[in-house]
């Protein structure tokens, strides 16, 4: 099935760039342009708070081109600057530094800057609240370095954009992207662990062989000093509700029972470990699972970096595909054929 055809079967989608200038906006505009006009999209972008780098360098958020019938949410300030004709449908209760977030339907196509809700929770609320306007698909334009905007609590599926701006060396670029993809595609935890752990909002929890739930009495994995070494003594599974850190992963890696323990996190956006520690963990036989996952639809690559480096597009796509095993597209070069 074609890239666009596949997208038409989705209900919700996040697009996240691994670095600035990896072609996230190009990718979003590509999708919005190619979707048939009878297919209605609701779209927003993570708030300006999320895109702090843009604020620092003073460059504006990129403009998105929207077609007639598209529903979009943006801040009051950007709404006033829109270059399209739109029917205002709702003033949401979400606020941002650029005023309230408003939702409108495009009457005559044109350009608009999007700056919607700025946290994973509020984006998740947004997805639910635009349901009443019955879009066929909701798209969240995620922020750089804010993978939380790709959380499965917001959308069921995901497109990653990566490219020469992330790393100028082809091998490194592929390796680092593959690492992220591995995390995105982690297997689901067993059903008994999911049902036991999914409701836990914070803390570190365990489950023993009899199914008893153990509370390690710490607020987060940052406080692991208080747990020390008996953590894995009686557990078959350990669940970290908040961020999974290098130190915590190291603690499990160093345990004699590393092979017997299933380490569980909510989803890949909660994982904050470096690649080296991750490899050590895997080599020692560690297992990491998630309670919720999103489907990775494609990796889009941009072989051009803003510093002038241009990688070989075909080679990059080929190497990347071999590494990640999901469709890889260079939209700028091959946009008409995918």
């Amino acid at each position: 099935m074609s890239f666009i055809g596949q997208i038409q079967n989705l209900k919700s989608l996040s697009i996240v760039g691994l670095e600035k200038n990896t072609g996230k906006t190009v990718c979003l505009n590509y999708i919005l342009e190619r979707l048939p006009s009878s297919f209605h999209v609701a779209v927003t972008s993570i708030g300006i708070d999320g895109e702090s780098k843009d604020q620092v360098t003073g460059t504006a958020k990129p403009e998105i081109i929207l077609k007639e019938g598209t529903i979009f949410s943006t801040s009051e300030v950007f709404y006033a600057r829109r270059q399209l004709l739109s029917d205002l449908l709702e003033i949401t209760s979400e606020r941002s530094s650029l005023g309230r977030i408003v939702t409108a339907r495009v009457v005559r196509g044109g350009k608009v800057m999007l700056s919607g809700p700025s946290s994973a929770q509020s984006l998740s609320r947004w997805v639910q609240s635009v349901e009443k306007f019955t879009p066929d698909l909701t798209i969240v334009d995620g922020a750089l370095s804010r993978l939380s905007s790709a959380s499965p609590i917001i959308s069921e599926s995901l497109i990653l954009t990566t490219g020469a701006a992330y790393s100028a060396d082809l091998e490194t670029l592929v390796r680092r992207t593959k690492f992220i993809v591995e995390l995105v595609r982690l297997d689901m935890a067993e059903e008994k662990y999911r049902s036991a752990f999914d409701g836990k909002e914070k803390g570190v929890w365990g489950m023993d062989s009899e199914g008893n739930i153990i509370d390690f009495q710490v607020e987060s994995s940052l406080a692991i000093d208080r747990i020390k070494d008996d953590l894995t003594g009686r557990c078959e599974a350990v669940f970290v509700a908040g961020a999974l850190t290098d130190r915590f992963l190291g603690l499990i890696s160093d345990s004699r029972r590393v092979k017997e323990i299933e380490l569980v996190v909510r989803d890949f956006t909660k994982i904050f470990v470096n690649e080296q520690n991750w490899r050590i963990f895997l080599r020692k036989g560690g297992r990491l699972r998630v309670t919720r996952r999103s489907r990775l639809i494609a990796v889009c690559v941009n072989p051009v970096s803003p510093r002038g480096i241009v990688l070989d597009s075909d080679l990059l796509c080929k190497k990347m595909y071999e590494a990640v095993q999901v469709p890889v597209y260079d939209i700028v070069k091959n946009g008409d054929n995918i």
Partner: protein
């Protein structure tokens, strides 16, 4: 009580917080006629149909938003933008829908201003859809320009800004839209006061419905306004304590029942004496609460009530010991009472509720202080309820006594009593609390020795 109100909108809450402490008989009468009618219609006469219509009405009120900011801009002749215009249209449509639903519920006293004229300004197509943009309908020229833009732009939404003709049209469109918004703002300004009244009326309706629901949930009553300066309660209860008992019973705790009491007082001083744990302080708290509920137009926590309107309520209950400001219990207390005396000088109609004045000092001076206080308050045309353990001489005030322990059960009934009758039940009450018997036996022995 305010926190327990189930309001649908934050504007309802801000209307509630703005509502005044009413002292005018006409206003209070009006408020209770409205609340009484509303309660009767919804919960006494109303059946299943009423409750589903009510649910839908409440759902509408959830959409009420505070648009004071927009209205303020309108009053200052600022040209409103699409977001402002949307807010006003949304409110005007909401007012229409709420008015219709209130009418089907027969809420006769509820008046929502008709904002149909405002709707017509912002809804030229008559679609009654809650959305807004500068519609083609507003100007023939705008419609023409937009049609031309569409033709030039073709199907691609990407503006071909290289075309000077398109640029020119877009600029024309922008200027026309600006003129239309200016014109709309101008027209809306003529309706500014109705719009504001409409928003307030919706907020007030939210408060009214919440008050009626609270009456049903807590078993509150509509009070009568007293004609003879006398206040009288039958079946007075404390909603918070009742609620606590009910939750305790519901989670399988010890079953306790709150026993309502009757109470009457006029412009006079009334002392309440009686055993410890006899509910004396609770009587003061209930009286204070109900006076406030009455004058803020809430249902009152009693089976029935006739209440005198007061201009001032002073309450001295609890221990005012304050280490930070260096006040001992005694100092805190006399300061609070001093406050009552100072307030009295203004000559306003006052209700003063004083819990065991001078209890933290020795009984000899304490009795003198309380007697003197009652002397000063005598003939002052204010209502004073005061609990005390002291035996105050004199017949210039009324005495009420908690009936006390009867067959080991506390009887909370208040009855008139005469001078000198101070109950001696402290030891018996302490026994019912499982206090160390050695201590209590010793105390009883000392008492008996003193008698002999």
């Amino acid at each position: 009580m305010v926190d327990e109100l189930q309001l649908q909108s934050s504007y309802g809450r801000s209307r509630l917080l703005q509502s005044p402490f009413m002292t005018s008989r006409v206003e209070i009468q009006k408020a209770f006629t409205l609340l009484g009618d509303c309660y009767r219609t919804l919960y006494v006469e109303g059946g299943g149909a009423a409750s589903s219509a009510l649910a839908s009405l409440k759902h509408r009120l959830m959409c009420l938003r505070d648009i004071s900011g927009t209205l303020d801009r309108l009053s200052r002749d600022v040209v409103l933008d699409d977001v402002d215009l949307f807010e006003i249209k949304y409110l005007a449509l909401l007012a229409g829908n709420v008015a219709r639903e209130a009418a089907t519920l027969n809420l006769d006293g509820v008046h929502i201003p008709d904002l149909e004229a405002v709707v017509r300004i912002l809804d030229p197509d008559g679609m009654k859809i809650e959305s807004f943009y500068v519609y083609d309908m507003y100007s023939k020229e705008l419609g023409r320009i937009r049609a031309d833009i569409r033709k030039l732009q073709g199907l691609s939404p990407d503006l071909k800004l290289s075309s000077p003709r398109l640029l020119e049209l877009l600029e024309k469109e922008r200027l026309l839209e600006r003129d239309i918004r200016e014109n709309l703002s101008h027209m809306l300004k003529n309706h500014l006061s109705e719009i504001k009244e409409g928003m307030d009326a919706l907020g007030d309706l939210d408060v009214l419905l919440a008050k009626a629901l609270q009456m049903k949930m807590m078993g509150l009553c509509i009070p009568k306004i007293s004609d003879d300066s006398r206040t009288s309660y039958a079946g007075l209860f404390h909603p918070y304590v009742v609620h606590k008992y009910e939750t305790q019973a519901a989670i399988g705790g010890k079953k306790k029942v709150f026993i309502p009491v009757d109470l009457q007082f006029g412009l006079e001083s009334v002392t309440i004496i009686g055993a410890n744990m006899g509910g004396k302080t609770v009587v003061l708290k209930m009286t204070a609460l109900n006076q406030l509920l009455f004058q803020f137009g809430f249902g009152v926590a009693a089976a029935s009530a006739t209440i005198d309107i007061k201009e001032d309520i002073r309450v001295c209950i609890g221990d005012d010991q304050d280490l930070a400001s260096g006040l001992s219990s005694f100092a805190g207390e006399v300061k609070a009472i001093d406050n009552v005396l100072k307030g009295m000088v203004t000559g306003s109609r006052m209700l003063a509720l004083i819990d065991e004045p001078a209890r933290t000092t020795n009984p000899i001076e304490g009795t003198a202080l309380v007697t003197a206080l009652l002397n000063i308050l005598k003939n002052k045309k204010i209502s004073v309820l005061m609990t005390t353990h002291y035996n105050v001489p004199g017949d210039f005030f009324r005495r009420l006594k908690v009936r006390g322990l009867v067959d080991g059960q506390m009887d909370y009934t208040l009855e008139e009593t005469s001078e000198g009758e101070i109950p001696h039940e402290a030891i018996n009450v302490a026994r019912s609390l499982d206090i160390d018997a050695k201590w209590l036996d010793e105390a009883e022995k000392i008492l008996n020795e003193n008698k002999d």
